[in-house]
């Protein structure tokens, strides 16, 4: 994770961001601290911190830093120049931490775990708004697994992790409206137990949740029917208020990058 010391809305690169709707830094910090405390104290996760840097406010959204594969980081190639400035900090941090850092060909956009999520031994790869479909071939070679590119169809859900969230090896949350019919078919064939969220819940970033074992860290304000459906599958819900980050189009998942991903 990365502390939101310099977090602010400095530009508009997705439909959620508006320079007129500034984030409150103090509240953002408090919300982030609460999330960090929940993950480390309550859920027992070990969290490493990427040092924040002035001038790159979105560094807090570490899910987009890259994709971990063993001790290798496949570093992101950000779509927007504003976020490309993060690439140097990310690479040097991971190198110092003892990871091998590799990149995909520069001509392809690739935004890490924001667009690539493991499900049943395959890497589901969202493309169009931030990542490019042709990147999936190079990605498949690096991770040695099948990569399934699915096209994102709704600009509000510009990253795969805003509309799809694997909970365990059988279950995933998703907002079907964010995919086209091809993507929907691929996901329906891949995941045995899909929990569809309504558009209202999707807009509350319900799919941008973090699963830690049978615990699910999720944005507050999701509908009670969705909460019931998740709990029925024996997941404990941990609602967190991350409203300041919603202003930048991110929630719990965007703030976290998995370091120990095992392709199940």
């Amino acid at each position: 994770m990365c502390r939101p010391t310099y977090y602010t809305i400095a530009y508009e690169i997705n439909p959620w961001m508006s320079l007129k709707r500034q984030a409150d830094s103090r509240r953002a910090l408090a919300q982030w601290e609460a999330l960090h405390r929940l993950l480390t104290h309550r859920l027992g996760a070990r969290v490493r911190l990427l040092p924040p840097r002035r001038g790159v406010p979105d560094l807090v959204f570490t899910a987009n830093a890259g994709l971990l594969h063993g001790r290798t980081l496949i570093r992101s190639n950000f779509r927007f120049a504003e976020r490309r400035k993060e690439e140097g900090s990310i690479a040097s941090y991971f190198r110092r931490a003892g990871f091998r850092v590799v990149t995909l060909p520069r001509r392809y956009g690739f935004e890490g775990e924001g667009d690539a999520l493991w499900m049943r031994g395959r890497l589901l790869f969202g493309f169009r708004f931030r990542s490019d479909a042709p990147a999936h071939e190079a990605l498949a070679r690096l991770v040695g697994a099948e990569v399934l590119p699915v096209e994102l169809a709704d600009a509000r859900f510009y990253h795969l992790d805003t509309c799809f969230c694997p909970l365990d090896n059988r279950t995933a949350l998703w907002f079907p409206g964010a995919f086209d019919r091809y993507g929907r078919r691929v996901i329906e064939q891949l995941v045995p137990d899909l929990i569809s969220v309504t558009e209202r819940d999707a807009r509350r970033f319900a799919c941008n949740a973090v699963a830690v074992g049978r615990h699910l860290v999720i944005q507050t304000g999701i509908s009670s029917s969705l909460a019931r459906r998740i709990e029925r599958r024996r997941f404990a819900l941990h609602p967190v208020e991350l409203s300041e980050f919603l202003k930048a189009g991110g929630s719990a998942k965007c703030l976290v990058l998995h370091l120990n991903h095992i392709s199940k």
Binding site: F127, R128, D132, A133, P134, H136, E137, A140, R141, G144, A145, E146, V147, L148, P149, V150, E151, Y182, G183, R185, V186
Partner: protein, 404 residues
């Protein structure tokens, strides 16, 4: 028709990327043929598919390519043409690309551009400011022109095979004097009607034998009936046509009876002299000197003609272009829009015209000498039929088939 070969790689089967590419092509009214698909054997192996996409126009094709590019389907041939400047007037760089008569596209600054006025055995000059590519004969290249060199970034479009059997397919290019001609002429007449309806031009290339054999009146009928839009010939055809209009003879032979007339040998010189005195064929028609014949029909029906000269010409007539390069240029000006070329009883003019025609133009070569017909088909005329026949009987049947 525009087409492009694209390749898409990766896990394209399970992710439905390939079906999606194919669906998008069809949704955008394109068609495709799958050239090659390699499917990975294990789950982790990637697959690859190579497709040729066809679209009605370059614009539409570009639209399709743009749409499927985001799915990772990229054109296979992405190199631009290599250009080199001509260092002298009338001289191409040593490795210039020599054209064929097939529709040709060149890729310049990332875009495919059709080469205008394609003809065989020329070079391609690109205007760097507009990107326009022009087929240029060697004599017309100027120092400093950017000439396409090598073979990269050049795409030839093979002619589409016709869906329905048509006359130009059914005869192929085999030339034989032992083929049924009547049906062929019937179908040719149909084709001529069709071409005229489509607004394309019919070009006739004719030799002087056409007048000697007495088939001038049939050609005249074709012209007056609106089936000839351009006429290419030499000094000879025009001279003998005018001779027959003024004296009723062709090279001194009376056309009606087929007998030589006394002192007829000088008729053609008198005819040339009369036209030279009038200032040209058009002036002779205007003054009422020339009242009938092929050239008269051309003038009154406003059918443009190009008379190209040669060393054995008598006179020549003032209309005859004696500089061969000028004559070639004059002929080239009339080529765009031609849909059918009818070459009758002419060897050199027919071959000269054949060289200038794009492969898309249908050609019919009629000659009594099979060697002439074969020679033209051997020179790469794709959609051609050869008819070994006397011009008189061919034109008589053709005018009858066209009900003229």
């Amino acid at each position: 028709m525009a087409s492009e070969v694209v390749q898409v790689n990766g896990h394209i089967i399970d992710s439905l990327i390939l079906p999606k590419v194919l669906d998008e092509i069809m949704d955008l009214d394109g068609t495709f043929e799958i050239l090659e698909v390699t499917i990975g054997k294990r789950k982790t192996d990637t697959s690859a598919a190579r497709l040729r996409i066809h679209a009605g126009s370059q614009r539409q094709l570009n639209h399709i390519l743009k749409r499927i590019a985001r799915l990772g389907a990229a054109p296979l041939y992405l190199k631009d043409v290599r250009l080199r400047q001509a260092t002298k007037d009338g001289v191409f760089p040593h490795d210039f690309y020599s054209t064929t008569n097939l529709p040709t596209d060149v890729r310049f600054r990332g875009r495919w551009r059709a080469v205008s006025r394609i003809e065989m055995d020329c070079g391609v000059v690109i205007d760097p400011s507009t990107g326009a590519a022009r087929c240029t004969p060697i004599a017309n290249v100027r120092k400093g022109d950017w000439v396409v060199c090598g073979t990269e970034g050049i795409k030839l479009m093979p002619l589409q095979r016709a869906r329905a059997p048509e006359v130009f397919q059914f005869m192929g290019s085999a030339v034989s004097s032992e083929k049924p001609k009547l049906q062929l002429i019937q179908r040719l007449a149909q084709e001529m009607r069709l071409i005229r309806r489509r607004g394309e031009k019919i070009l006739v290339v004719a030799g002087p034998a056409l007048i000697h054999t007495g088939s001038g009146p049939y050609l005249e009928k074709l012209i007056r009936g609106g089936y000839v839009h351009v006429l290419f010939a030499g000094n000879g055809l025009a001279t003998h046509d005018i001779e027959s209009a003024l004296f009723g003879t062709s090279l001194g032979v009376q056309l009606e009876r087929g007998e030589p007339v006394k002192d007829g040998h000088d008729h053609h010189m008198r005819a040339i002299n009369a036209i030279r005195n009038a200032g040209g064929i058009r002036q002779a028609v205007r003054r009422g000197l020339l009242k009938r014949g092929v050239m008269h029909a051309c003038v009154v029906r406003r059918v443009p003609y190009v008379l190209a000269g040669s060393v054995r010409d008598d006179g020549p007539l003032p209309d005859t272009l004696t500089d061969v390069l000028d004559a070639q240029e004059a002929m080239r000006r009339h080529i765009p829009g031609v849909g059918l070329a009818l070459m009758i009883a002419s060897t050199l003019h027919a071959i000269a015209t054949g060289n200038m025609l794009p492969a898309t133009v249908k050609t019919v070569c009629v000659d009594i000498n099979p060697a002439v017909v074969t020679k033209l088909s051997d020179r790469g005329t794709f959609q051609g039929i050869g008819i070994v026949s006397d011009s008189e009987s061919f034109l008589r049947e053709l005018t009858r088939a066209l009900r003229l």
